[in-house]
Symmetry: C2
DNA sequence: TTTAGCACTCAAGAGGATAGAGTGCTAACA
DNA sequence: TGTTAGCACTCTATCCTCTTGAGTGCTAAA
């Protein structure tokens, strides 16, 4: 609701302490928190705490499931807690080593790394890990190749500067002469190499086709094939790892989870608004959130200094933010470091040996 | 239990009719079936039916959840029903048209087709569709290609006679000379083309490596890369479509389903024993079955006359077999027809025009 | 061999009592 | 004026009992 400056000012130190205590306790127990339980955290009587809690409720930070129950944090309560109250301790040496140990490093490809990290994150947090990999804005086509592979069968190959490869089988009505093949490869080299993936539009396609002259008659399936490949590449992808953690989480409504897992478009849209740093979202915030009572923590990772995607978790609001936030931060940093190594290596350097 | 010839002989016509009626009724209602409900199917009094049911229970075809409840089919009951009693009507023209209409035919690749059919099957049956695609035994390597794509970056490409393509990025310590590249391509062409995918063993790898002489020093990552690609290709794949139908099915134990979906190895193993025709399995049969109370119906589909995989459904035992069995049969036949068209086209023919 | 009739069983649901966790309010206190 | 002890009150969760009704097995007659 309206969290005006006045209201926030009205939150003295003790109120904040109590709010924080309620959230901390609720995160652990999952049950509405009563005034007595808070006495462990604050040095006053339960009566005083009750008074304070009643006020926190009026201000919209807490709520009661029913009259004679304890308090539960509201969306605003969580928001305040995460933004201003939660204490995230930097990871110790041992913790970092533990996290590192959970990542398989035998698969050195970018996807392999990200997949391994997200599995670790899901395992660690008992949530589902989410990864969205955006198409790097600076990604351009570096190679178009056609490989004959059978009677009238050709494999189209598209490679970009960011290292993605896609292929597609194309069947033609006729076999091509080597002259035709050569023409196509040259034509593609001249017209597509260096072109950025997401700039390949319908119009561009039309222009290309008309520039091909009579070759178009036989080669047109290749052109549309390349076009489709580029479209596939330009698509942002979202992967959810550890879905079982959502299904077994009793904070959620089963049916909602099933619906969510069945259709990840919604999630895609949410992760699309790429945020610059670590970001915590709650399900009440945007009503487009599919899963009620959920929260999403994401952080971007980068490749060669440019954002390459986002990694995070989706779980219940009742999360141990103080632990999970550093995990997400550490892992995204880790990914950035590892794939940027690769990247620099690819582009400029030569790493001695 | 022991279903000896004597016992089976003891099943006169009326008993079979009653068993069939119990299964039919139970499939619809999901509730234990009482003697009165059977009166709709058989022209005798409920008392007689009760006597018969008591005997069917003694023989192991029915059971009671508790004393004063109706009867439910046992595993043996289902087995007998499916093997000898169920009446599967051949599909009508309209039904076939309806099924055809559910298949998207704009993606003409094999995977696209199979995916579309399995989605339709899942939708239609409210079960999960399962597809296992085996590596065709006759599939051989037709092409190995290396494409330079950046500083010390190369794409390995492996193509087989059955039309699968896989690629892998390989990073070397040094750039290769064109002479080295040429050597590798020739070497691979001579040694691997025509070799069947699943015959590529560790020993073969060793032999190849030793045959490469000094080239091995720089090219060894390529060899292991190719080896890994072939291993990936040789792997039988299992895909489950429509998982949500399992999760929302109240005949199952949620946790068991979640465990099942998390680990499809078990399913893979079951589908691995490729059966020659349509096959119905029940969860009691092999104790390796992950999901209790489930049944699997599969049928093979073929490509150019040779088995290419299996398509089917996994759902509760309480299935409308009389409808679903024809669906599975029709769809696998359909797939066989469509991809075999392709295949013949690829290998021998020329379709005019 | 079949069937009507009857006593019996058992699960599921309705209703009622109880316990206990937690509250708000009042009045006393520092 | 802020804090606290005390108390009446509220509401859920749980347990127990009772009832209902579907369905059975058995017996005796047709």
């Amino acid at each position: 609701m309206k969290s005006t400056a006045k209201e926030v000012r009205a939150l003295d130190d003790r109120k904040l302490k109590i709010l924080s205590a309620v959230v901390d306790e609720y995160i652990v127990t999952g049950e509405p928190v009563g005034s007595k339980a808070i006495m462990k955290y604050v040095n006053t009587s339960s009566a005083t705490i009750r008074n304070e809690m009643a006020e926190l409720e009026k201000q919209g930070y807490l709520e009661q499931p029913h009259t004679s129950a304890g308090r539960v944090p509201t969306y605003n309560g969580y928001r305040l807690y995460v933004d201003r109250l939660v204490k995230t301790n930097p990871l110790s040496k041992e913790e970092k080593a533990m996290l590192d140990g959970m990542i398989l490093t035998d698969d050195l490809t970018e996807e392999g790394l990200v997949q391994s990290v997200s599995a670790a994150l899901a395992e660690l947090t008992n949530c589902a890990a989410v990864v969205s990999t955006s198409v790097p804005k600076f990604s351009v086509i570096t190679k178009v190749e056609v490989i004959p592979t059978g009677k009238r069968m050709y494999v189209l190959l598209l490679i970009t500067s960011s290292g993605s490869i896609k292929n597609k089988v194309c069947r033609l009505e006729f076999d091509l002469s080597s002259e035709q093949l050569e023409f196509f490869e040259n034509f593609m080299r001249e017209n597509l190499e260096g072109v950025s993936i997401d700039s390949l539009s319908d119009e561009m396609l039309k222009k290309l086709e008309s520039a091909m002259g009579t070759y178009l008659l036989t080669l047109s399936p290749f052109v549309t094939g390349i076009y489709e490949l580029s479209k596939e590449m330009a698509q942002q992808s979202v992967v959810v790892e550890g879905e079982r953690n959502l299904l077994t989480c009793r904070d959620f409504d089963q049916n909602e989870i099933i619906r969510f897992l069945d259709n990840k478009e919604e999630l895609k849209r949410i992760l699309d608004q790429s945020f610059s740093g670590l970001h915590v979202m709650f399900s009440d915030e945007t009503d487009s959130f599919v899963i009620g009572n959920s929260s999403i923590i994401t952080s971007p990772f980068s490749k060669g200094g440019k954002t390459a995607g986002h990694l995070g978790i989706i779980g219940p609001m009742r999360l141990d933010y103080s632990k999970i936030i550093p995990y997400v931060e550490y892992f995204t940093q880790k990914i950035s470091d590892l794939i940027s190594d690769d990247y620099e290596d690819e582009e400029d350097g030569f790493d001695g040996k």
